[in-house]
Amino acid sequence: MQSRTFILLTLLVAAACFAAAQLVSNNYVFFAGYTVLQFIVLATAWNILGGYCGYVNFGSAAFFALGAYSTVFFYKAFPMPIPALIVIGGLVSGIVGFGMGYLTLRLRGSFFAIATLALAVVLQTLIVNWDYVGGSRGAYIIRPNTIAFAGREIPYIEYLFLLMLTLAALAIIAARTIERSRLGFGFATIRDDELAAEASGVPTLRLKLIATTISGALMGMAGAPFPYYIGYLQPQSAFALDYAVNSIAMPMIGGTASWIGPLIGAILLGTIQQVATVTISSAVNVLIVGVLLVLFVIIAPNGLVGLVQDLMRRGRP
């Protein structure tokens, strides 16, 4: 498929999603849909570094929270419309991602993973001790009920949904573009054999830094509208382990090789969790995600996409 067709198709699907959600008179669809879309962005972002380059980032929650807290900071210091805040959240998280990568990516892969794991704990410590953005008490964000958009008043949650939908479409288009570009091939060489890539003249450190920065920035962008969504942001909800686990589990369960894996994983797991949160309990649904993650990495290392490909290959002798 041509890239232009793909972009057009993605945008069409996104528009169809928005139109379909409009048909349901209940606002809950937008609240639930927002969460699923947010996971699509996080999973796609994680996969750019994790799936394409083979470097595990355990700190998704940290990058997400950075975006969310940069919004809280600017909400208090210098109010701005949300699209501007998304750009800022992306910049902040991208810069932190670059810094982390610069310090740890020259070493063996596992050091980067460990450093990202510790990053979440430390950023949370900093936020808890920073009273301006609410400290451990948390911060309130007053969300207007409606907003003027394209000439008419729409409920604010629809506006947030639309923003996240656009972000999800952008993330998917970015992931697919990277996958098919020189950059993506460079990433793949790192994943398959970094030493050989380095020896063949692939600038591995530079490519890894690019991947970390893009991935971190997308996660920050996903986090930026979050304070408006939740209304009251406290460190525990911004740094929730759910984000870290889900953004790893979704690509792993969907399949890490291409953009469609994280998308499938996020829609599937995200929907299951929305249903489970309502019907069972939120603690049980995160347990389900953990168990699925472990089962999939052991039994189906290439995720659902890999399983389907195996089936198709078997069907055609």
Partner: protein, 291 residues
């Protein structure tokens, strides 16, 4: 004199005691990560599991937590060996330990934490033992027994491990597998079996560390997360696979954390280990005693 000299001395001593406990927490990671190259980020989860076992048995039978830790050593050894077997068959053998192996341990960490929350809730749990509470006093120095006993026992456990690794056949084989797995199989020793034993030992130390942890402080399921940064900071700072380096790094981190907590407040303490980790990775990735 303005400077609170007595406070500083007490902070340093408390830090040394804390560091002693950190030895017990980290020694398992030093074996798994440093020697076997298995990035077991779920190690803190096993420690918390040990703490909860100590709590359950202490609460229902009144058994001393240290004794529970000792009794749990073989159980955790078998658990560790089983986890390694799964890890080996699913990831190491297929050469996928970098991405999926890490995700596997992350999943275990997460499942343990959530399962403990579901069973016990997020309330803090503690154990009862005669030595929790009283302290020894020398002049202005306080030595609380709840810190002193884990520190001394951790040093004992460390010495026993060091002797085992240096003096016995299997221990030397573990040191060898860390250096060259291929050479070990040429010497007619099965490297997978040796690694299984080593990983079992690594998880067994978590049983003791868990008992120590719940003696030192009340425990709730997510406490383990704070220890991830800490154990890896100590392990990397000490030099991968170097047990003496681990001791020095653990004591150092304990003292710095204790001083930070005394003079700037305990809420800053978790940031110290991360600072250590990043600085080490940036300037001396080989660690203090690394080669």
């Amino acid at each position: 004199m303005d400077f609170p000299f007595e406070l500083l001395i007490n902070a340093i001593i408390a830090g040394v005691l804390l560091g002693g406990f950190y030895i017990a927490v980290t020694v398992g990671i030093s074996i798994a990560f440093g020697m076997l190259d298995i990035v077991n980020i779920a190690h803190p989860a096993f420690i918390i599991l040990g703490s909860y076992l100590a709590y359950i048995i202490n609460a229902s039978f009144g058994l001393d937590p240290v004794l529970v830790g000792l009794l749990m050593l073989p159980v955790f050894f078998v658990l560790g060996a089983a986890v390694y077997q799964v890890y080996y068959l699913s990831f190491e053998k297929r050469g996928q330990e970098a991405l999926r192996g890490l995700a596997f341990f992350f999943g275990i960490l997460f499942i343990t934490e959530v399962a403990l929350i579901l069973v016990f809730g997020v309330d803090y749990r503690y154990v009862e033992a005669p030595y929790i509470g009283p302290a020894a006093h020398f002049a202005f120095i306080d030595l609380p027994f709840r810190m002193l006993i884990p520190c001394v026992l951790a040093l004992g456990m460390f010495a026993a491990l060091q002797l085992y690794l240096g003096r016995t056949y299997v221990g030397r084989a573990i040191m060898a597998v860390a250096q060259d797995q291929g050479a070990l199989s040429l010497m007619a020793a099965n490297p997978i079996r040796i690694k299984r034993i080593a990983f079992g030992i690594s998880i067994a130390t978590a049983a003791m560390a868990g008992a120590f942890l719940i003696i030192i402080q009340p425990v709730e399921p997510s406490v383990g997360r704070e220890y991830i940064g800490r154990v890896f900071a100590i392990c990397v700072l000490g030099g991968l696979g170097s047990l003496p380096g681990t001791v020095i790094a653990a004591l150092l981190l304990g003292v710095v954390e204790s001083i930070t907590a005394t003079f700037y407040g305990p809420s800053w303490a978790p940031a110290v280990s991360f600072g250590f980790l990043l600085l080490t990775l940036a300037f001396r990735p080989a660690g203090i005693l690394g080669r």
